[in-house]
């Protein structure tokens, strides 16, 4: 609240964009998760010819459709805000953002939008296999759409494959595949998509459970739970695997973010991962001597293992990232915040001199200033920061959000395992006839039905 009441235009712009993006993000993961689930259900229908599977698939396709429509609407507003709220930034990164967002619009969204019509209106117009192919192509389109958006997002976290041109003020793409195949983008994609699958599965189990409690449409509910529990269990295991990949990338590329996630102020070798902890509210500065924790229980060495694949590796803390001096994964020594800021300011000054030289027609001088800009461009953003604290994210918020997320992830593995166990023992709705497809006996989803 304080941020908005005292903020300049940029604070309001951030608040508005965050609100829209947050609202948009309620619907997108559910769309991605439901897409796979409804496609599996329709595949069951095509394989078994059982009309009940068709009805089950159609029900979730309607929910998918409503969710998709709201997701698109909120996404369009985000695009509007690129022009109003982030117009300078849009020009600055337009070359990088343009390519993935254009591919997302032309390939992924059009694929999705084309086949969604067959999925909804084509049941009696195309063959079963053609309809199934359309449903899976909608799913593929939605997933590809997420990929290209996450490529753009990952580039902001880890900018590669570009060169800054001070003449056009654009970060111009020089290597498309470096941008599209960025390790941050790939990990972010798998982690986000598997998380979305998990959300979709939890949603389906939740709605189906409500039907079971109300004793309505119980056969439909059991069929849905059968698919969603197995899919959810697999998804949450994949979330843990892709989460490990994400943790590795964050450690390598964004050590400050990792340090904030773990509330790690002083770096150490063989760092442990905090399983449970309570931060000390009296910790006010990164360099005071106050213990950052009131209490914590650690899993020894796990943070070093996750971050560097070495149980004894040094994991830098917040203080280390600010003070520099530790050895980076590439063998070089980390610069301090002050050194990075100085280089950033050098690039800014060179940009001002470049502009002056250009306006006076001094092309040789302009070329020299351009070289200075390029040599220091990696630190360009640091030049806009004033003090060390500007580099530190909100530690309590980051720490608790991260640990809550991990706990929820662990809980859902247990949740889906328990629901699957009770479902396979036919204890979720004992009065219902479990013959046919509801007779889930473990094993593959594809093999348990007649």
């Amino acid at each position: 609240m304080d941020l908005l009441l005292n903020a300049s235009a940029v604070g309001w712009a951030r608040g508005q964009f965050a609100l829209t993006a947050g609202y948009h993000w309620i619907f997108v993961p559910l769309t991605l998760g439901l897409a796979v689930i409804m496609s599996i259900m329709e595949t069951m229908y095509v394989r078994t010819g059982d009309e009940k599977w068709k009805k089950t698939a159609k029900f979730w396709q309607i929910i998918f459709g409503i969710n998709f429509a709201i997701g698109v609407a909120t996404g369009i507003i985000l695009e509007f805000q690129f022009g109003t709220n982030w117009s300078n930034y849009s020009l600055f990164v337009g070359d990088i953002f343009g390519a993935p967002l254009a591919i997302e619009g032309i390939v992924a969204f059009f694929l999705e939008a084309t086949f969604i019509s067959i999925m909804f209106f084509g049941w009696d117009r195309v063959s079963k296999k053609m309809h199934l192919a359309s449903t899976w192509l909608v799913t593929l389109g939605a997933t590809l759409s997420a990929f290209w958006i996450l490529v753009a997002n990952a580039w902001m976290q880890y900018p590669i494959g570009m060169e800054f041109n001070p003449e056009t003020m654009r970060n111009e793409m020089v290597d498309f595949w470096a941008v599209a195949g960025s390790p941050v983008a790939i990990n972010k994609f798998f982690h986000t998509v598997t998380s979305s699958w998990g959300l979709g599965a939890a949603f389906v189990v939740g709605v189906s459970s409500w039907y079971l409690i109300k004793k309505r449409h119980q056969d439909f509910a059991l069929r849905s739970i059968k698919i969603a529990t197995i899919f959810g269990l697999v998804s949450f295991i994949l979330i843990a695997v892709s989460g490990d990949g994400s943790a590795y990338e964050v450690t390598q590329k964004q050590p400050m973010k990792l340090a904030a996630m773990e509330g790690l102020y002083e770096g150490k070798e063989g760092a442990g991962l905090v399983a449970v902890g309570l931060l000390n509210p009296k910790k006010e500065a990164y360099n005071d001597d106050v213990n950052p924790y009131l209490f914590k229980i650690e899993i020894p060495k796990l943070l070093s293992l996750m971050g560097y694949r070495n149980i004894n590796a040094f994991v830098p803390g917040i203080k280390d990232v600010i003070d520099g001096g530790y050895t980076l994964p590439d063998g070089s020594t980390a610069l301090s915040f002050r050194e990075k800021r100085e280089r950033g300011l050098l690039a800014h000054k060179a940009l001002a001199d470049f502009q002056q030289a250009k306006s006076e027609g001094r092309d040789t001088d302009a070329a020299n200033f351009e070289t200075i800009i390029k040599d220091n461009y990696s630190y360009f953003g640091y030049g806009f920061l004033e003090k060390e604290e500007d580099l530190i994210p909100n530690v309590p918020l980051t720490f608790y959000m991260f640990h809550f997320m991990v706990m929820v992830g662990g809980y859902f593995i247990l949740f889906f395992a328990v629901v699957w166990y009770f479902h396979s023992r036919k204890k979720l709705a004992p009065a219902v006839d479990h013959t046919g497809c509801v007779a889930c006996s473990g094993g593959s989803v594809w093999s348990v039905c007649r």
Binding site: I77, G83, T84, L91, S117, G122, D124, R125, K128, A352
Partner: protein, 81 residues
């Protein structure tokens, strides 16, 4: 089941037409909401509340880079250090 599929030639227009006309009351209401919402977004929100800020600051496309450069230089504190 294949016999359920209509034998007439596939036609996009009739698919959409029959799809929309044969829709339930709830479905039709939702589509009306979607269309009204899109009209509001593109005809009212976009032109009135979401103008392209950068376009409004310059006379033509070529001046955009200069404007952004000046903004960045202005925000930097390199000359006060």
């Amino acid at each position: 089941m294949e016999s359920e599929v209509k034998k007439e030639k596939f036609n996009w227009f009739t698919m959409f037409w029959e799809g929309f006309t044969g829709m339930s009351k709830l479905g039709r209401t939702l589509w009306i909401i979607v269309i009204v919402k899109l009209i509001i977004m593109f005809a009212i929100l976009k032109p009135i509340f979401f103008p392209d800020f950068l376009k409004a600051q310059v006379n033509d496309e070529s001046e955009k880079a200069g404007y952004v450069r000046e903004q960045m230089i202005e925000r930097s504190s390199f000359d006060s250090e």
